[in-house]
Every structure is written in structure tokens, then in C-alpha cells.
Symmetry: C2
DNA sequence: GTCTATAGCACGATAGAC
DNA sequence: GTCTATCGTGCTATAGAC
């Protein structure tokens, strides 16, 4: 792996683990096995490197989500697959966690990938919910964009509950609760 | 206000704004208008001061939640009042945001208040949901603890969505979506 | 109780040799 | 491209005068 590659990967790991404020250039260099001068040769500085890392993580997250949301099954089944997909729950969401970082939020360039990714996810889910509503899988009174926001928020908040308690139980409970609510008024769903 | 008081309040503000990793003793001293020696006279160090600040914020959050959850109205109405209560959405949750702080999660003493507070909140809501279910306000198939986890997660995740987008819209959408799901199978609720 | 002084180290970045 | 050296600043904390 090339040095810029290793620097980006090291930054991705550290941003996930410790956030932007908690990640130092020195730590990145050590994790990447690269020297000081090497890092500053390939990147303008910490914000520049973080931007590359965040963009890659955002792309990866979109691809992972699309893999499930664009997969087989009815809209409800795909939403369920998204909610139940395997996650490193106690590590949290590598994109969502950055929203709590003051220096990321203060920098529009760093914030943009977060906004775009979560916005894309909500719109993707909203379309799926609308489709499911037309099929009678979801109650007609539901609003696709609102339910999509609830779904994404439940996942993001699930990470918070899990990390606070040091256990994945609360995340799983939140997901099960949401699925039970979504299954209401959906006779087909209560069969299985 | 006494010096220890001012130091705790300054720490609460900074922890909310910048998290534990992003908050320095120097910044605390400046915000509190206290000197270096003064801070170390009253507190053992940054973790000790943070613990006092976090405990106070946790207590305050419990009291605020109890004010709504223990208020007037049916269980559904009290859950709705909790979800719709005024919040400083773009600032995020002063307790929830700390779960993304690696140094807080690594320190059991600092993590404990977060765990206890969110756990209390979930149990309080779970009891309310169970009560509402017995009254026919919520579907019989729902599980109190699961729905409680979904409610708290929706709020915590709503903050994430709001901060990513720089707007409160997504938080509000998530709350409306959850309320519409909770109102399903509750004929009384669809009247109004 | 509060102050200033100082410690030892890490921060984020630049300079310039190789 | 990568290295070491260095910069000026800020970190967390201690010491000791007042």
C-alpha cells in the first residue's frame, strides 16, 4: 500500500475511534508508519487529510447501505435488512460520530460529506417507504421522509445507547421496537 | 457564585460544546474567570472536574425529563410531550454527545452517569408505554422496553441528523415519523 | 484560596538536508 | 519522497510565594 493510502487508512481508523479533535498528526503518522515530512508532502495538513479520509468513509457507507437497500425483497424486507445488518455497534457510526466534533461542524468542507451521506440515506429510505406504502406494506397515513428520518435516527441513536451502556442490547432493542411499529397495520408482516 | 461553582458551570458549557477531549483546563479557567492554582486547589484535575460537571448535567437532564413524563395527560400524551419538548437541537444532547468521547467511555467513573441517566430514561418511558398499552393507547403487540429504546434513540439520533445538516428539520421529521407510528392502531389518537 | 512560575511533553506545521 | 531538526504554542500538572 502506498504512503498516501496508508495515511488515509490510518486517519479513517483514528477518526472513527477518537474523532477529529482527538486525532493528532503524530498519531496518524505512527499508525501509518510514515514520517512527519512524508505526511506533509502528500497532504496540506490535518484538515486536508481528514477530508480525504471522511470522503472515503462516506462513500463506503453509501455503498454498504445501497448493497442492502437495493437488494432483493419487498420494501419492508429491505428496510428490515438495513436495520438488522451486522454492525460494529460499540464502535459507533464513523460518519455520525463526527457530527459531535466541533471542528468538523465548524468547517463546511468537512461537514459536507456527513450531510450528503445522511441526506442520501434518508432519501433512499424515503423512496423505499413510499413504495412500500403503495403496496400496502406500510400504513397509508405514514410520510416517507418522516419515517426515513425516524429509521436513520433510531440507528444513530442506538449507537449512543449502546456506547453509554457498554452493551449492544439497547441498540438491538431500539431496532426491534422500530420494526414492531413499522409492522403494525401491515397484516402481511404479522403473518410470518 | 463561588469559584468551584463557576468552574463546574464553565466545564458543563465546554463539555457540551466541545466534548471532553476538546476541552482543556486552560479553557475552563478562562471561561470561569479563575486561575490555574484556583482550579487545582478545588479539583484534583480535569477528570475530577469533568465528573462533577457531568453528574450535574445528568441530574438536570433527569429532572427535565421527569417534569414532562410525570406531568399531566395520558401515557401517549406524555410521550408526545417529551418528544416535542423544546430543545437546543443544534447543540445536541449534553449527555449523549459524551458517549462519542473516547476518554469518557474509557473511564468507568465518567461513563457511569451517562449510562445511569439514559437507562433511567428508558425505564421511565418503558413503564409509560406499558401503562398506555394496558389502556389501549398502544398496540398490544408492542414491548415497552423496546419502544422506549426506540424513543430515546430517535431523539439521540435526531441530534445527529440535525447537526449534520445544520438544520433542525431532520430532528423534527424523525419525531413526527415516530409519533405517527406510535399513533397507528390507536383509534383515539387518530381522532384529533 | 489564589497567584505566578515552571515543568515536561504534545500539538500542528515548516525548513532544509538527503 | 522521506528524513531529522526546529518552531511557537498549548497541554496537564506541580511548586511555592502570597
Amino acid at each position: 500500500m502506498s504512503t498516501p493510502e496508508r495515511l488515509i487508512e490510518a486517519t479513517r481508523e483514528l477518526l472513527w475511534e477518537r474523532g477529529y479533535v482527538g486525532t493528532s498528526p503524530k498519531a496518524i503518522q505512527q499508525q501509518a508508519g510514515a514520517g512527519q515530512g512524508s505526511m506533509y508532502h502528500h497532504f496540506a495538513g490535518k484538515p486536508d487529510l481528514a477530508l480525504a479520509a471522511i470522503r472515503r468513509t462516506a462513500e463506503e457507507m453509501r455503498a454498504t447501505a445501497e448493497g442492502v437497500l437495493g437488494g432483493p425483497g419487498s420494501p419492508y424486507e429491505r428496510v428490515e435488512a438495513y436495520l438488522r445488518r451486522e454492525r460494529d455497534v460499540l464502535r459507533g457510526c464513523p460518519i455520525g460520530r463526527l457530527t459531535m466534533d466541533p471542528d468538523v461542524i465548524a468547517n463546511d468542507e468537512l461537514r459536507a460529506p456527513l450531510d450528503e451521506t445522511l441526506d442520501w440515506l434518508r432519501e433512499r429510505l424515503a423512496g423505499l417507504v413510499e413504495e412500500g406504502r403503495e403496496r400496502g406494506e406500510f400504513a397509508p397515513s405514514l410520510d416517507g421522509e418522516e419515517i426515513a428520518a425516524t429509521i436513520v435516527a433510531t440507528v444513530q441513536g442506538g449507537y449512543v445507547l449502546a456506547r453509554a451502556s457498554g452493551s449492544t442490547a439497547a441498540f438491538d432493542a431500539g431496532v426491534r421496537g422500530l420494526l414492531s411499529l413499522l409492522a403494525l397495520n401491515s397484516p402481511a408482516r404479522l403473518d410470518g
